[in-house]
C-alpha cells in the first residue's frame, strides 16, 4: 500500500514535468507565432521573394521637324550570378580567355562570388553577344536592355543631355523631363529558394511597364547645327574663352536653337551644363534696350531733345562714367545707335532707379525661364537702399545686373514683337505611339511691356545701330538685321574692379528688321584682340541670320505627323566627305558610296570647292555641290552658278572672297561674272534669281 502510494506520487511528479514542458512549448509558440509573427513573416518574405523591374522604353525626343534626335536601341548586357565555387572558377577562366585578361585577375576585377550578382559588361555589340551566347559557361547571363542613341552625335547634345547606363536622365532635357520620358517600369515578382534558384510565380507581371512620353522640342536641328558651327568658328576666330548663343521665335517664344562653345572643353562625351541657362554675365549695353523702352514709354524726353554727353567722361562724385567714343550733344536716337553710356545714364537718372528696377523685373530679369531646368540661374539685379545717380546710370547700361543668355534674348524678343514678353518654350508638343502630335504647348504671355509705337520707335533705333551705329559690320546684304551691341567689362574678382582688358562682347538682335521673325543673341567672353560686340559676336550673329534666312525653314508650323517612330524609317545622317583636290570621277564614287548625290559645275576636272564643307552632317540622298576646274588652270575661274540655290551660290561667293548681291529669290538664273571668267578680288558679282 505504501509502495502503491509512492508509485503514484512519483508518476504524479512525472506528469507534472510533462505538463510543464508542454506549457513551455506552447508559450514559446505564442511568442514566435503571434508576438513575433509580423516581423518574421516580413523577413521570410524578403529572403524568399523578390521583384525584378522591367525597364520601360524611354520616350523619344524629336526636333520640331519630326526628326528623331534621341532614340532607343536594344542592347545586351553581360552579368554573372554563379551558384557555387565551381561556376565562379569556370566564369573567371572564360572571361580571362574571352577578354584577354591575365590569369587569375577576373574574380577580383568583376567581383565574382557565389550567389553574388555582378555586371561584367554593359551594352555589348551584337557580334560579341552572339559569340558569348554560343559558348558561355553556367552562371553567366545575357540580359536585354535599352540604350539611348543620338543620331546627330554632338549637335544639340547640350540641350538633350545625357542618360546613364540605365537610361536615367543625367543632364539637359533628359534630366529636366526625366520623369515623363522615363515612364513607369513594370514589376515581375519571383520566388527564390535557399540555393538562389529563382522562379517566376506568375506568367504575368504584377505591373506592366508604361512607356515614357515622347516629346517634340521647339529646336530645329538644322538651325541648331548652323548655330553651333558659326559659334565655333566665331569663337575660334576671335580667340574667345567662351561663346554662347540663343535664337528664338519672337512671335511665340519658341526656342529655335541654343548652344555654347568652350574651346577649352576637351571631353564633350560627358554631361555638360547648358551654359546659356546656367552661366550668368553682365549684359552691358544690350541692356540699354530696357532702359530705352522705359524712357520712350514714359516720354521722359522728346525725340528731338539732345543731351550733353560730357565728352566721354561724366564725373559723379567719386564715380565716373565713360564712353568709348567722345560725344558732345546727341539726340536719343544717336545715344542708342552710338551706344553712349553717358547719354542713356543721364536720361535714366531722370527716369528713376526704382522705376528702372521694376521695369527690369517685368522684363524677366531675375526670373527663371525654363522652370526647373537643372542648374538654371535666375540672375539678379542689385538693389541699393538708396538709389544714387551712379547706381541708376550703372543699371541702365547693364552693370550691377546678371542675366543668363536666354533671358537677354527674350528681352530683345519682346522688343522685336512689339512689346509682348513670352515665356521661352522648349517643348512643342507630345507624340503618341503612332507618331501623332498631341498636347500642344500653348505660348504663354508673361507681360505686355510697351505700346506698339514705343516698340516701333525702338526697333527703328536698333535698325540704325546696324545701319550706321556700333554694329555696321552686322549689316547684311541678304537680310535686314536690327539689334544692339554690348561690350561689357568683365568684373575682376581678384582685383575687385572691372577689368580694362577683358570684355563680354555681345550682340542681340532680330530679323527681318521690318517684320521680325527670329530674335537671337550671341555672346563671347573675352575675345582678342578685337573686343567690340559689333565686330565679334555681331558678325557671328549676321552669319547665322543669313544662313537661317537662306534656308528659310518652316519655323512656325507644327508638323502634322512625326517622320517615324522607328529609327529604321528615318533618314540616316552622313558625314560630308572631303572631296577637295579629287578627280571628279573619284569624288563621284566616294559620294555614291555614302548614299549621297554629287552636283558638279563641269563634266571633268579637279574639285576646287565643295558645298557643304567636309565633316558636316547631312542626310542620305542629299546633294553635295562641287566646283571643278581642269588642273592646268592656275587662276580661279568663275563657275557656272545657274541652278544653284542662293545658299549654295552665296557660300561659293564667300569662298572666292567676292562681293556679291542677290536679287529675287529661288535659284540663280543669271550671273554678272560669266562662267570661266578669271576672278579678281575687286570684282563684284550680281546674281539674279527666280523661283523655279
Amino acid at each position: 500500500m505504501k509502495l502503491k502510494k509512492k508509485k503514484n506520487i512519483r508518476l504524479g511528479w512525472v506528469f507534472f514535468f510533462v505538463c510543464f514542458v508542454f506549457a513551455s512549448v506552447l508559450a514559446r509558440l505564442v511568442h514566435l507565432q503571434i508576438y513575433l509573427a509580423p516581423e518574421y513573416r516580413k523577413k521570410v518574405q524578403i529572403q524568399a521573394e523578390g521583384t525584378q523591374t522591367i525597364q520601360a522604353s524611354r520616350g523619344l525626343i524629336y526636333d520640331r521637324n519630326g526628326m528623331i534626335v534621341a532614340n532607343n536601341i536594344e542592347s545586351q548586357s553581360l552579368s554573372a550570378w554563379p551558384n557555387d565555387k565551381q561556376e565562379v572558377k569556370e566564369i573567371a577562366s572564360f572571361l580571362e580567355d574571352f577578354l584577354n585578361l591575365p590569369k587569375g585577375t577576373a574574380i577580383k576585377k568583376f567581383n565574382l562570388g557565389v550567389h553574388h550578382y555582378s555586371w561584367i559588361k554593359r551594352n555589348l555589340s551584337d557580334e560579341l553577344a552572339s559569340e558569348i551566347e554560343k559558348q558561355s559557361p553556367k552562371g553567366l547571363y545575357l540580359e536585354d536592355g535599352i540604350v539611348r542613341s543620338y543620331p546627330f552625335d554632338f549637335v544639340g547634345k547640350q540641350i538633350i543631355g545625357f542618360t546613364d547606363i540605365d537610361s536615367k536622365g543625367l543632364s539637359g532635357f533628359e534630366l529636366w523631363c526625366n520623369k515623363e520620358l522615363a515612364g513607369d517600369s513594370g514589376v515581375f515578382a519571383f520566388r527564390r529558394d535557399g540555393k538562389r534558384n529563382c522562379f517566376r510565380i506568375r506568367e504575368q507581371a504584377i505591373s506592366q511597364p508604361v512607356p515614357g512620353q515622347s516629346k517634340v522640342l521647339t529646336i530645329d536641328w538644322q538651325l541648331q547645327e548652323i548655330l553651333e558651327e558659326e559659334l565655333r568658328e566665331g569663337v575660334i576666330k576671335h580667340n574667345a574663352e567662351l561663346g554662347m548663343a540663343v535664337f528664338l521665335n519672337n512671335r511665340n517664344g519658341e526656342i529655335i536653337a541654343m548652344a555654347h562653345f568652350d574651346p577649352n572643353e576637351k571631353n564633350r562625351n560627358k554631361p555638360q551644363k547648358l551654359r546659356v541657362l546656367t552661366d550668368l554675365y553682365e549684359p552691358g549695353s544690350v541692356y540699354k534696350v530696357i532702359a530705352a523702352a522705359g524712357l520712350l514709354e514714359n516720354s521722359i524726353m522728346s525725340l528731338d531733345d539732345t543731351i550733353y554727353c560730357e565728352n566721354g567722361r561724366w564725373q559723379m562724385g567719386r564715380n565716373r562714367l565713360r564712353d568709348d567714343h567722345k560725344h558732345e550733344w546727341l539726340n536719343f536716337r544717336s545715344v542708342i545707335e552710338l551706344s553712349s553710356n553717358i547719354g542713356i545714364g543721364k536720361y535714366a537718372v531722370e527716369y528713376g532707379g526704382e522705376e528702372l528696377y521694376q521695369l527690369s523685373k517685368k522684363f524677366g530679369i531675375g526670373t527663371k525661364t525654363l522652370d526647373g531646368w537643372p542648374g538654371e540661374q535666375a540672375g539678379y539685379i542689385s538693389k541699393p537702399k538708396r538709389w544714387s545717380d551712379f547706381n541708376v546710370a550703372s543699371l541702365s547700361i547693364g552693370h550691377a545686373v546678371a542675366v543668363n543668355t536666354l533671358q537677354m534674348a527674350n528681352v530683345m524678343a519682346a522688343v522685336a514683337n512689339g512689346g509682348t514678353l513670352y515665356k521661352p518654350k522648349l517643348i512643342l508638343c507630345d507624340v503618341d505611339e503612332k507618331g501623332n502630335p498631341f498636347n500642344q504647348q500653348r505660348s504663354e504671355i508673361i507681360a505686355e511691356l510697351m505700346s506698339k509705337e514705343t516698340a516701333d520707335t525702338l526697333k527703328s533705333f536698333l535698325r540704325g545701330v546696324v545701319e550706321r551705329g556700333t554694329a555696321e559690320l552686322v549689316n547684311s546684304q541678304i537680310v535686314t538685321i536690327a539689334g544692339k551691341t554690348g561690350t561689357a567689362q568683365i568684373y575682376d574678382r581678384e582685383r575687385k574692379r572691372y577689368s580694362y582688358s577683358k570684355y563680354m562682347a555681345s550682340f542681340a538682335g532680330f530679323f527681318p528688321a521690318e517684320n521680325p521673325l527670329v530674335t537671337g543673341i550671341v555672346v563671347m567672353k573675352n575675345p582678342q584682340p578685337v573686343h567690340y560686340g559689333g565686330h565679334t559676336s555681331g558678325v557671328t550673329f549676321r552669319k547665322i541670320a543669313e544662313r537661317y534666312t537662306i534656308i528659310h525653314p518652316d519655323l512656325f508650323t507644327v508638323p502634322t505627323r512625326m517622320i517615324a517612330e522607328n529609327s529604321d524609317k528615318i533618314k540616316k545622317t552622313q558625314v560630308v566627305p572631303n572631296l577637295m583636290g579629287q578627280l571628279l570621277a573619284s569624288a563621284k564614287q566616294e559620294t555614291e558610296n555614302k548614299m549621297l548625290h554629287l552636283k558638279s559645275t563641269a563634266d571633268s576636272g579637279f574639285v576646287v570647292w565643295q558645298y557643304p564643307q567636309a565633316d558636316r552632317l547631312i542626310f542620305e540622298d542629299d546633294e553635295i555641290l562641287v566646283v571643278v576646274q581642269s588642273n592646268d588652270e592656275q587662276e580661279q575661274k568663275m563657275a557656272d552658278l545657274t541652278g544653284m540655290t542662293i545658299r549654295e551660290a552665296s557660300a561659293y561667293m564667300q569662298h572666292l572672297n567676292l562681293d556679291y548681291s542677290v536679287t529675287g529669290n529661288g535659284k540663280v538664273y543669271r550671273q554678272s561674272l560669266k562662267p570661266g571668267a578669271i576672278v579678281q578680288n575687286e570684282s563684284v558679282c550680281k546674281l539674279e534669281c527666280k523661283p523655279i
Binding site: V25, Y40, A48
Partner: protein, 366 residues
C-alpha cells in the same frame, strides 16, 4: 482482496491519436520533402514512398506486438542488449553520414542500433527491476549491473556522435529508476556529475561549443542564433496563427534545413500555423497522458515500469525535438516521433505505442 477487474479492450483513444499523427506525418513529409526529393533524386515522392513502406512495416509490427506476451519476451532482453551493444560497436566500421556513424547498413535496410538500444534497454530495466529479489533502495544493487551495461551503450552512442539520443536514453533510464522507487539521494549521484561532465566536454574538449554559444544568444532572440535556429524560428513566425496553407510554405525550399526530418515541426508550423501545431501538441499530450494512465493501471510492477518507461522515452524524444525547433534548448539532431521522415524512428515510436496498447489490455480499474 480483489478491487479491480481486468479489461480486455485496448486503448482506442491512444490508437486513434497514433493513426492521426502518422497520417499527418505522411502528408507533411510529402509537402516538405517533395521539392528536395525532386531536386536531389528526380522524383517528388522519393521520401513519401519510402516512408509509406516503413509505415506499412510499422503497422505490421504494431499488430504483432499487441498480440505477443511481453512478459515472456522480456526474458530475452538481457542477451538482446548485449547483441545491440555489439551492433553499436559495429557502426564505427560503417562509412559516416553527415559526419556521424549512426547507421548500420545491412544492404537494403539501414537501421540505427541506438534506437533499438533505447527500446530494449527500457524492456530490460522494467523486467529486471520488477524482480522481487532486487532491492532498488540499495546503492550497490542500483549500480550493478545497470551502470556498466547502460554506461557502455551510452558511451558508444555518444561517440557516434549522437548527443540527442544519448540524453534521451540516459534520462529515460534515470526516469525508470525514479519510478521504480530508487532513493532520490542515489539518483542525485547519477544526475549531479552530468552538468560537470557536460561542461567539461563542451568547453574543455570544444565539442559542440559553438552550438552552445549560439544557444545562449538565441533564447531571447532566435535570430541571433545559428542558421538552423534562426531559420526554424523564422519558419514558425512566418506561419503565424493560421499558417500559410498546406503546401504554401516557402522555408522548406532550402532555407530551413531538414524540413522533413528534424525540423518538420517548424515546417508544419509555417503551413498549418499555430492552430495546426496546437492540435499536434494536444495529440502528443494525449498520448503521453494515456501512457502514464496505462502505467498507473497496471496490475504488476513489470507492466507499470514498462509502460511508464516507454512513455517517458517517447516524451523525452518529443520534448527535446520541440525544444530544439522552438529554440528553447541547444540544437541536437533528433527526429520528432510519428511525424519526421525516417524508418527507424517511426518503427521504434510505433513499437512504443504497440507496447502501450498491449499493456492497455491488462489495465485494472482502480
Amino acid at each position: 482482496m480483489r478491487r479491480s477487474a481486468k479489461t480486455k479492450s485496448i486503448d482506442e483513444g491512444l490508437l486513434l491519436a497514433y493513426i492521426v499523427l502518422v497520417i499527418t506525418g505522411l502528408v507533411m513529409i510529402y509537402s516538405t520533402s517533395s521539392m528536395i526529393a525532386e531536386t536531389k533524386f528526380g522524383s517528388n515522392i522519393f521520401f513519401l514512398k519510402r516512408q509509406l513502406i516503413w509505415t506499412i512495416l510499422s503497422v505490421i509490427a504494431v499488430y504483432g506486438i499487441i498480440k505477443v506476451n511481453l512478459q515472456r519476451l522480456a526474458i530475452y532482453s538481457a542477451p538482446a542488449l548485449f547483441v545491440i551493444i555489439l551492433m553499436l560497436s559495429l557502426v564505427f566500421l560503417m562509412p559516416s553520414r553527415n559526419g556521424s556513424h549512426r547507421w548500420l547498413m545491412l544492404g537494403i535496410i539501414n537501421i540505427q542500433p541506438s534506437e533499438l538500444f533505447k527500446f530494449v534497454m527500457i524492456v530490460y530495466l522494467a523486467f529486471s527491476l520488477s524482480n522481487p529479489k532486487r532491492k532498488i533502495e540499495e546503492l550497490k544493487q542500483l549500480l550493478f549491473p545497470y551502470l556498466p551495461l547502460i554506461g557502455i551503450g551510452l558511451m558508444l552512442i555518444l561517440l557516434e556522435p549522437d548527443l540527442g539520443t544519448t540524453i534521451v536514453i540516459a534520462l529515460s533510464a534515470l526516469g525508470i529508476l525514479f519510478l521504480a522507487g530508487a532513493r532520490m539521494k542515489h539518483l542525485c549521484y547519477g544526475i549531479l556529475p552530468i552538468p560537470a561532465v557536460a561542461t567539461f566536454v563542451v568547453f574543455g574538449l570544444g565539442y559542440k561549443e559553438a552550438r552552445i554559444i549560439d544557444y545562449v544568444a538565441s533564447i531571447a532572440d532566435p535570430l541571433k542564433g545559428s542558421y538552423q535556429v534562426k531559420q526554424a524560428a523564422l519558419t514558425l513566425g512566418a506561419g503565424g496563427f493560421f499558417g500559410m496553407g498546406l503546401g504554401e510554405g516557402r522555408q522548406k525550399l532550402f532555407f530551413l534545413p531538414y524540413p522533413h526530418t528534424d525540423f518538420i515541426f517548424a515546417a508544419i508550423g509555417e503551413e498549418l500555423g499555430m492552430l495546426g501545431l496546437m492540435i499536434i501538441l494536444m495529440l502528443f499530450f494525449y498520448i503521453i497522458f494515456r501512457g502514464l494512465k496505462i502505467a498507473s493501471q497496471q496490475p504488476d510492477r513489470f507492466g507499470y515500469l514498462l509502460a511508464s518507461g516507454i512513455t517517458l522515452s517517447l516524451f523525452l524524444n518529443i520534448a527535446i525535438n520541440l525544444g530544439v525547433v522552438t529554440a528553447l534548448i541547444p540544437v541536437t539532431g533528433l527526429p520528432l516521433p510519428f511525424l519526421s521522415y525516417g524508418g527507424s524512428s517511426l518503427m521504434v515510436s510505433s513499437a512504443a505505442i504497440a507496447v502501450l496498447l498491449n499493456l492497455s489490455k491488462r489495465r485494472v480499474k482502480t
